[in-house]
Amino acid sequence: MTDTYQVKLEIFEGPLDLLIFLIKKKKLEIHDIPMATITRTYLEYLDDKEQINLEREAEFLVVAALLIHIKSQMLLPREASLEDDMDPRKILVERLLDHQKIKAACNLLREKEKDQMLTWQRDFLPPITPSDELDFIEVSLFDLAEVFFTLMKRQERERVKILKGKEFSLKEKAQEIIAHLKENGYLDFQAYFAEQRSFEEALFAFFCLLELIKNKVVVAIQDSLFSTIKVWLREEFVT
């Protein structure tokens, strides 16, 4: 093993990076990797626990499993020789080649980034005739969702419960309550709210009931402290 072999695993962005590094170190041809050799080398590498970045361990092990799988596939005796596109190594090779391409593209983009970092563009508008809405920005779907999410988070912090814009009708709800009273004589406060389909609807029914009490259509009576509240229709509305 050479000194460069002692490179810490963290310098590899991922398991494919490590694999390519090992293939190059062993001077192997990427299209024709001897599976036994490379699997052994890869596992040896992982064996040194100190070198493993725990956060990425899982991904390195996934590739190790893939290597072992491919190796085992190749050891299995077969009646006919494998067709080219059935070679289990093929998927791995394709992934490695694609990964290398991405890496090369990264290098090129890094160069361009370096060039661009030398030029300065303005992210503000020069003075122009004042206009009321110059702070216009180009928005994306992510912006839209992000703004909404941030807004909701802010509200959650302020502990303000916002009711969804459901279409409840005050008149319909009032009629519903009156019909219930006419049918049953009275309305048990707790039982009635337990029947409501959602918190919003219950809250709405509550407001509605308050409105009916205020308008002296119904009367709410509590027999004793902590007993349930009963709501009665006032006599003049019973007909």
Binding site: W120, S131, E133, L144, V147, L163, K171
Partner: protein, 181 residues
């Protein structure tokens, strides 16, 4: 080629948000005399003024600033108006996001969520046709109900409202960032 004092100062004026004062330039270009700098500044002002150029360097608040030529204002305004059509103010974006996720919704409900009156932002959205009125709510005062329009879907490249990123998805995206910090 060595960069001329004139070209360096020009780039500094360009990236300054506020008028660039000779003092600031002197702080950076310590190897030049005050006189050199004043001469270079005058040269820059003169050269833009004499050229057939769309921009000028003018003096304001004790400093120097790039601006478009005043007589080109009509075209500049035309461009900014054109841009405006495809852009939203932060207030309008916030209002639009509330409507998108809470529709159907009334102005009062939007304002309650924003803790700020949303009437102006809503008007902008209606003018841009990103939002439409779809009726009245059956509640006291019968307020108008708003929904997002088909143009809203096209603007954001959505097939339907179901395609909006869910709060859970955005939460996942934004929260991991907090973990990393």
């Amino acid at each position: 080629m060595k960069n001329s004092l004139k070209s360096i100062i020009e780039s500094l004026i360009f990236v300054s948000i506020e008028p660039l004062t000779p003092e600031k330039i002197k702080n950076i270009m310590t190897e030049y005399s005050d006189n050199d700098i004043e001469t270079a500044l005058q040269k820059i002002v003169d050269s833009y003024a004499s050229q057939d150029s769309g921009i000028v360097v003018f003096q304001s608040a004790g400093g120097y600033l790039f601006a478009t030529k005043p007589e080109l204002d009509p075209w500049v305004k035309k461009l900014l108006n054109l841009d405006k059509r495809s852009r939203l103010s932060p207030a309008a974006l916030e209002t639009l996001s509330i409507i998108a996720y809470h529709q159907p919704i009334t102005l009062a409900e939007i304002s309650a969520i924003r803790s700020v009156d949303a009437a102006h932002a809503l008007k902008t959205l209606l003018l841009k046709r990103l939002v439409k009125i779809t009726g009245r709510k059956k509640s006291p005062g019968k307020p108008l109900i708003y929904r997002t329009s088909t143009k809203f879907l096209t603007y954001f490249g959505l097939n339907s409202l179901q395609d909006l990123p869910t709060t859970e998805e955005i939460e996942k995206i934004l929260e991991e960032e907090q973990d990393a910090e």
